[in-house]
Amino acid sequence: MVGAERKGVKHKPPALRRLRRDRLPGYAARMPDLTSRLGNLTLATPFMAASGTFGYGSEYAPIVDLANLGAVVTKSLSVAPREGNPTPRIWETSAGMLNAIGLENCGLDVFIEKKVPELAKLPTKVLVNVVGNSIEEYAEICTRLDPIEAVDGFEINISCPNVKHGCRFASDAADCERLFKALKPTTKKLLLAKLSPNVTDVAEIARAAVEGGAQALSLINTLLGMAVDVKTRRPRIANVTGGLSGPAIKPVALRCVWQAARACPGVPVVGIGGIRSLEDALEFFMVGACAVQVGTTNYLDPDLLNRLPGELDAWLKAEGYADLKPLVGSFKA
């Protein structure tokens, strides 16, 4: 079929040729288009590295070709430097892991001085994950990073389970809306709201973030959990509770993405949680995500980010799709 079609259009002028192909729904004659739009940003591929699992991008540069990524999301950044929680900070669980790193990061000043010049060299988009204890702290980071060219947008982490007051914006719709209303005027760059699964109604928070001014949503952050050493009767991680991530959380993440996407039609949603293969990513696309982030899997299989664009390309070709549009939200309940 493809061969016959090629022959058929051979003598047509190039403009007409393009036009005809465009008119055929789902017909991919050449490379499928892997780009994905997130607010005012166009990502080269719909695959990103999740915050806290990929450092500042350059750490994995020896083994991951960053051009395969739509974006790198940096480790959560706070205004003041944070030393993080005491150790042990992680515990491996069935098909997942618990972490309570405590948002260890260098703080805004050092970030601008030392990390931004490195981020500027990355051959991919950079989203800075922002965390704060108050609206003012979030706003200060967005304000100061807005003029910096290397920063393409902000992922606002309202959902870290490991800090005091950290969950207010994640679980209270009014607080969440207030936060994004306050952030909107600080930047023209993408504002992506990263939501927590540790809420009664994720759809309500999703709507509040969008209402406040978030142009896109990403979810989920980790699920609050814990583990006990029965010999000592003590917690496995020093912080007692921690965030669960990895394949174990994928079903919860899919449910949350589906609910958020239905609650906010037309708003780009980024799926996160337990992605370990293309098939996992396809599940997220089908329930409404237009891009996905790979987190915990980077630790065991950093090569997945190298493989995903090629695998998606092959999958789209096999389906006869020219781009992601017919895939996103194609799930039928």
């Binding site: 450092g55 070709d65 915990t296």
Partner: protein, 296 residues
């Protein structure tokens, strides 16, 4: 395209699939694992480690999920092989043993995902007239590799400790040229009766009395803390190879941190990642039990 070249931070590590060639029990707790991985073998230095998957690479098998950090025992660039001496410590290493056995028997896929070589290894201490390794548990491998590659002048002693004789690794697996091996067991079933630090004190007060040796320490944390204390009290230079639960091995997950006495040049933080900034440290530069000094 290689972006690593234009970025300051990254080290020269690879991700590969390594084919297990042999696995042998060399004590009741140690297994000697030989892998074919020429590129990592060429780059590996003493004290460096690899992150090795415990299960064949299959998205459906995700328990245990994380790879395990294992120190390199030896690397043969000519043969393209990498030797690991792993100490069976928990579920991951038990599964690794079974996975490799199955692979060698042709019962499962052969290659294991491996990332490495990672971390900064041991370098010879200067202004010393002898080199003493103090090791136990999973600390044996990096020390043996260090003494096998050591070029510096000076007498060489390697103290290896275990609970009892049957746990000590077979002597040929831990032998290094011109290096005197001192074994120690808690129950006295072989060598010195007592722990590694007792054997160290005996060596320092006996054959090496009046000398200025450098100490290289790797093993269980209480042992390393005690050895660092000995070094401090006697004014001897010392290096410890720290271990911690790790997820990534490359400095991004921030799970394996230890506190230092000075801020880090790149982050301004007092935390060091054992995987990225270590695993080998001068205990005098660390806070708390390592140096006896609290962080400012």
């Amino acid at each position: 395209m290689n972006y690593a070249a234009c970025i300051a931070a990254p080290k020269d590590f690879l991700q590969r699939r390594a084919e297990p060639l042999a696995q042998e029990a060399v004590s009741s707790r140690y297994f000697l694992l030989t892998l074919r991985e020429p590129e990592i073998a060429r780059r590996a230095r003493p004290g460096q480690f690899v992150m090795l998957a415990c299960r064949p690479d299959d998205p459906a098998s995700c328990d245990p999920l994380l790879p395990r950090p294992l120190a390199v025992l030896d690397a043969d660039p000519a043969a393209g092989t990498l030797a690991l001496l792993y100490f069976q410590a928990g579920r991951g290493t038990a599964l690794l043993h079974r996975t490799v056995s199955d692979a060698l028997a042709g019962r499962s896929g052969a290659a294991l995902r491996i990332i490495g070589p990672l971390g900064n290894g041991f370098t010879a201490l200067e202004k010393v007239d002898a080199h003493i390794g103090v090791g136990g548990g999973s600390g044996v491998a990096p020390l043996v590799f260090f003494f096998r590659r050591l070029k510096a002048q000076g007498e060489r002693h390697l103290i290896l400790a275990a609970r009892s004789a049957e746990q000590l690794a077979r002597a040929d697996c831990v032998a290094a040229p011109q290096t005197a091996l001192h074994e120690a067991t808690d129950d006295g079933t072989r060598g010195f009766r007592g722990n590694a630090v007792g054997a160290l004190a005996a060596l320092l007060d006996g054959p090496l009395a009046g000398r200025k040796p450098g100490l290289y320490v790797a093993g269980p944390e209480p042992m390393m803390e005690a050895a660092a204390l000995v070094a401090r009290q006697r004014g001897l230079p010392c290096r410890v190879s720290l271990e911690a639960r790790m997820a990534c091995g490359v400095g991004v997950c921030r799970s394996c941190v230890v506190e230092a006495l000075t801020p880090h040049a790149h982050s301004g933080l007092y935390r060091r990642a054992i995987c990225q900034d270590g695993p080998v440290f001068d205990p005098a530069e660390l806070a708390g039990v390592w140096s006896g000094v609290a962080r400012p």
